[in-house]
């Protein structure tokens, strides 16, 4: 399956998780969340309030190369002071937030700060709004475009953002947090991967799980319409 098709699977699964959401926030460099929210608003949940960094309810006709792009602002219902997103979440009123993790550990904590490898510092960009949003949004959805044991670790060297993820999306599978065990468990495995592959490429214990359902034609059509050039595959390269 090519990268575009793989991205479609991930986007479709994200979109379906948003069927009952009342609000969702996407931050910077968030191509998969952008398309997932757009799909769910068109097919499943038109009432979903979509928060972006530049405004409420982006209504763009296509996905730009940045999720802080003027094109998004232009079609918003209204502009929004970024600070308000944090206030909404701090008040406990933010439902879903999409968060990327440079390193994601078995507890669902994120490291977007830095790591040391053989004493040498490797610097990440920083966690942006994640520290607050992961801790206070009702349903944080974490995602990563790569899946290897240096990314999915038992315990992150630095905790940039601690919270309880609703789901964790990887290019191989979807994890969810088992609140009793206090750790991520496999929720579904993408059809191009397998329990064995995930086991091999994950730094913590994993379990087998059913196959991630395939995206519908309607979903793919909307994804294709908004992203005809396939920007979405960039995050999986």
């Amino acid at each position: 399956m090519n990268l575009l098709e793989r991205a479609n699977y991930m986007i479709s699964a994200m979109a379906r998780l948003l069927k009952d959401a009342d609000s969702a926030f996407m931050g910077v460099a968030s191509f998969l969340p952008f398309l997932a929210i757009a799909v769910t608003k068109r097919l499943y949940n038109p009432d979903l309030v979509w928060y972006s960094i530049v405004g409420f309810n982006p209504n763009p006709y296509r996905m730009p190369m940045s999720t802080v792009h003027p094109l998004i602002a232009e079609y918003c219902d209204a502009k929004l002071q970024l600070a308000e997103i944090f206030d909404i979440s701090a008040r406990g009123e933010l439902d879903v937030v999409f968060l990327a993790g440079a390193q994601i550990d078995s507890r669902g904590y994120l490291n977007n700060s830095h790591i040391y490898i053989n004493g040498k510092r490797l610097q990440f960009p920083g966690g942006a709004g994640g520290a607050l949003l992961h801790a206070t949004a009702k349903r944080p959805i974490v995602w990563q475009g790569k899946h290897d044991p240096r990314i999915f670790v038992r315990e992150a060297q630095r905790i940039t953002a601690a919270g309880k993820p609703y789901r964790v999306f990887t290019p191989l599978c979807i994890f969810r947090l088992d609140r009793e065990l206090g750790r991520l468990v496999t929720d579904s495995i993408h059809p191009w991967s397998s329990y064995e592959e995930i086991k091999e490429k994950t730094g913590f214990e994993v379990n087998d799980a059913p196959t991630t359902p395939e995206p519908s034609d309607e979903e793919i059509e909307i994804i294709q319409e908004l992203d005809p050039k396939g920007i979405r595959q960039l995050v999986l390269q």
């Binding site: 610097q123 942006a128 520290a131």
Partner: protein
Amino acid sequence: MTEMSLDEAAEMIKDGSLISLSGNLLFRIPAAFVRELARQEKKDLRVMKTAGGYDVDLLCGLGCVKEVIAGFVSFEVFGLAKNFRKAVEEGRVKYSENTCYSVIAALRAAAYGIPFMPIADISRSYFVKERGFKFVENPYGGGKVLTVPAIKPDYAILHVQKADEDGNALIYGPWFEDVLMARAAKNIILTAEMIVPTEELRREIDAVWIPKLKVKAVVEVRNGAYPGACPPYYDMDFEMMEKYANLDEEELKSHIWEVRP
């Protein structure tokens, strides 16, 4: 009248100043001003922003920066901010990592004239301890509350769409932390796509307003956010950003002289 040239305005920034930069990633950033700071070889700047990109990276790469106070520095789709990253990894720049939320809280405290802001409990994030954020006992009961101390920038540097020659200014569209940093800062320097008569600003009562008070310089700079975007006038230049992201050290040094203003 506070209108002046770009180099005169940049001369106001002394080495070691704490400056706060407008916009977000590649959106309405004071790029031309930042290049001028680098051409003037500023040293030991402390740079504050929620989410930096080209602006923070360029200053770090050219040795102008001592400390970055931010929640995020990256190029989004163009990958990591190479020069920032290298400077931090090699210890030339101190990355006082925050989360965007705590940068905002620090600016809010300064804007409200109070010494600190209570914030939601994010104390499991490693940087809370490293930054020295402290808990206070909630005087109304219910336990401890995390706080962030005020940070008052010496200069808020804003690139805006329109200003008059006295330094009154308008911002169209998203304003990110720009209004907050203008209120919080001791001084303001504006670069504006165009200098217009005051009457023209007045017609747009619903746009965001920066009054001239505290504005020490206003400079007309067409394409002042380039290679970033300044809607509704121009979009980001993705080609230039792709090129920028791959410049080597020597090319970076020429970049600030080649790209004018």
